[in-house]
């Protein structure tokens, strides 16, 4: 049993657009170890979600195009797996929860229908057995009175409860990898903390790995073992969570850290947002895509994309000046 649960190598997700191609994901490599939480961090549009869609075969094809050197999950390359094989893995070995539990649950179907179908499809259970397991799971994620509430529709749940339903749905088959795509972005702060606590408890219990996708470094602190920072479809910095927070190398990471209120440490400097906008992935600037916004950019940054280099035992960074 390898220590690495998921190994993504040089993943690309491209979409054709007018007069060119949008490089939503442009050569991403990631490792997820068993039992750890990897946070994928970056501004909106940096390709965090698309990376996971690419791995899981959720990119609409056509128009999208997915290619790369591989995405090995438990030793199997998902980029080359058949659609049928991927369906057997999705929702079963790798489960995903989404940002907005308001729209991610089907408003036309009862919670029961949406939970039991997962077990029917992946475990071949009959509806009755599946229902009992689903009720158990709802209780486990903290939904009171699950026998009654399971027959309700999503609109009868509050936002936080809905996200709990989503989490219950994802955990039904005891996946070894849970992908949480901005699981708290749409929720109130107090509910956010509850959901994050639930995710932590979940990981302890299911003994699996979590990929926590977020644009909010405040959510990452205390919740992730390692961090991968994405910008314009690439990973610009990778490393253990603590090290990234304490000594960020990439100017973009530094900018991100300066722009979020820290929950774990006293605020040293005033909050400064990164100036400018992330580039359109169909019109990337030459050289380093962060260069136009970078305070430390040099002439070289405009010419060549910086290669990813090792910066310590577990750290990588892609920057000419760092």
């Amino acid at each position: 049993m390898s220590e690495l649960l998921l190994q993504v190598r040089n993943l690309h997700v491209h979409y054709p657009v007018d007069g060119g191609v949008s490089r939503a994901v442009d050569g991403v490599s990631l490792d997820v170890r068993r039992g750890e939480t990897l946070a994928v961090v970056g501004e909106s549009g940096s390709g965090k979600s698309q990376t996971m869609y690419g791995v899981l075969g959720l990119v609409p094809r056509p128009p999208g195009r997915v290619f790369g050197d591989g995405a090995y999950f438990e030793g199997e390359d998902l980029l080359r797996a058949s659609e049928r094989r991927l369906r057997g893995i999705r929702g079963n070995r790798i489960a995903m929860i989404f940002q907005d539990p308001m729209t991610a649950l089907n408003p036309f179907l009862t919670v029961e229908r949406q939970l039991t179908e997962v077990l029917e499809v992946h475990k071949g259970l009959r509806r009755k057995e599946a229902r009992n397991l689903a009720i158990e799971m709802l209780a486990k994620v903290g939904i009171p009175d699950p026998e009654r509430r399971i027959d309700q529709y999503p609109h009868q749940f509050s936002g936080g409860m809905r996200q709990r339903v989503m989490i219950a749905m994802a955990l039904l088959c005891r996946p070894s990898l849970l992908v949480a795509d901005e699981p708290t972005t749409a929720l109130d702060v107090t509910i956010q903390a509850q959901i994050l606590e639930l995710l932590r408890a979940t990981r302890r219990e299911m003994d699996g790995s979590i990929i926590l996708i977020t644009h909010d470094l405040g959510v990452v602190a205390g919740n992730a073992d390692r961090i991968a920072v994405m910008y314009a479809g690439r990973v610009v910095e990778k490393g253990p969570s603590r090290e990234i927070f304490e000594s960020p190398l990439h100017p973009y990471t530094r900018g991100l850290l300066a722009s979020v209120p820290r929950l774990d440490a006293e605020q040293k400097a005033p909050l400064v947002p990164i100036p400018g906008q992330p580039p359109d992935p169909s019109r990337l600037p030459s050289g380093c895509p962060f260069r136009p916004r970078c305070p430390a950019a040099t002439a070289r940054c405009a010419q060549e994309y910086p290669p990813t280099r090792s910066a310590g035992p577990e750290r990588e960074v892609a920057c000419w000046v760092a």
């Binding site: 899981l56 959720l58 991927l86 369906r87 057997g88 893995i89 999705r90 929702g91 079963n92 489960a95 995903m96 989404f98 907005d100 729209t103 991610a104 649950l105 089907n106 408003p107 036309f108 179907l109 009862t110 229908r113 179908e117 997962v118 499809v121 992946h122 529709y153 609109h155 989503m166 749905m169």
Partner: protein, 342 residues
């Protein structure tokens, strides 16, 4: 839910009263009467007819324009009315009110009164003869519209921008743009006269219903196909469809279980008015296939100034429209749990 339906059924009656009143007023105000016949009848006969159909009310005449009671010829009456226009108008309104009350009373008892044109037949007889024909035809047309339209729309959505989609949408465009008076004869040519599969006209057996039903339903099928396609494509973009795929559901379940309900909402909303229109008959299709349905009564009644028949057709159509809309609202509520009945 039951209370909602009951309340809505009760709500139908005031609307019907408005429809009834409105069409009554229109009929009264429109110039010309049913007995302004081409060949004049003797004044006494005309007066007796008008009394029978409550076009004249002796009490009103006595009250406002007593001289009318002695009048014998239309010319005399016209001269008299011109001489005292206000009294004449008052007499008309008074008579109208009496007639209104009389007809309303009849309607409440389910009696649409005598036909003005065909004096030996009641309006109820016409409706009893025409309505089953129109209902059968309409039902078949709805079946075609749904059967063909849903399948075509679903296939088009699933194969968006590929040839099944293009094929279905071209067919839909044809279905909408080819008028029934072209489609009907073409179908007769091909299926009756060419292939000898169906009889070309008349109304005797189920096979007689087929071609007119197809003709009548084709445009509706085309609309249903387009609405289904649009609705499905709209739903398929939603987050919860991505969730369904992320759960590893087979595509069949993603489409039929997760997308179809939401995708059908626009079709269901459209079906209300569509069914009401189908069940009121189509003069074109009825003429082409020589079908004895309601559509031609409607036109005949309007041409003949047959007030009772025309009003009955209007009111019956209104009933269909209101009931169809009620059914649509109930079905929408069944499809979409977020809909609240109140």
């Amino acid at each position: 839910m039951i209370r909602f339906v009951l309340r809505r059924i009760l709500g139908i009656f005031p609307i019907l009263l408005v429809v009834f009143t409105f069409s009554f007023v229109l009929m009264r105000v429109a110039p010309g009467g049913p007995f302004d016949a081409e060949k004049p009848v003797p004044p006494e006969v005309k007066r007796n007819l008008e009394l029978r159909y409550r076009m004249r009310e002796p009490w009103c005449e006595a009250r406002f324009l007593p001289a009318l009671q002695g009048v014998r010829s239309p010319d005399e009456e016209r001269a008299l009315r011109r001489a005292s226009p206000w009294a004449s108008r008052a007499e008309r309104v008074c008579t109208g009110l009496f007639q209104y009350g009389w007809m309303l009373g009849n309607y409440v008892r389910g009696d649409f009164g005598p036909s003005y044109k065909y004096k030996d037949r009641s309006v109820n007889e016409f409706i009893r003869a025409g309505m089953p024909v129109t209902l059968q035809l309409g039902l078949l047309a709805v079946t075609f519209a749904l059967g063909i339209g849903l399948v075509a729309g679903l296939v088009a959505a699933v194969y968006q921008n590929r040839w099944p989609d293009h094929l279905a949408m071209i067919a839909a465009l044809l279905g909408i743009s080819v008028p029934n008076f072209v489609l009907g004869p073409v179908l007769i040519l091909v299926f009756s006269l060419g292939l000898l599969w169906f009889p070309p006209a008349r109304w005797e057996s189920l096979s007689h219903v087929f071609l007119p039903g197809l003709t009548l339903g084709s445009a509706y099928a085309a609309y249903v196909a387009r609405l289904t396609r649009g609705g499905m494509l709209e739903v398929v973009r939603q987050d919860f469809i991505r969730t369904a795929r992320a759960k590893g559901l087979p595509e069949r379940l993603v489409i039929l279980r997760h997308a179809l309900r939401g995708g059908l909402l626009p079709v269901v909303s459209y079906l209300g008015p569509a069914m009401a229109a189908l069940f009121t008959g189509s003069i074109v299709v009825e003429r082409i296939f020589n079908v004895p349905g309601m559509g031609r009564y409607f036109v005949d009644a309007a041409i003949n100034r047959d007030i009772t028949l025309a009003m009955a057709v209007v009111v019956v159509n209104a009933v269909f429209l209101l009931v169809a809309n009620l059914v649509v609202d109930v079905v929408l509520g069944i499809l979409d749990p977020r809909v609240r009945y109140e």
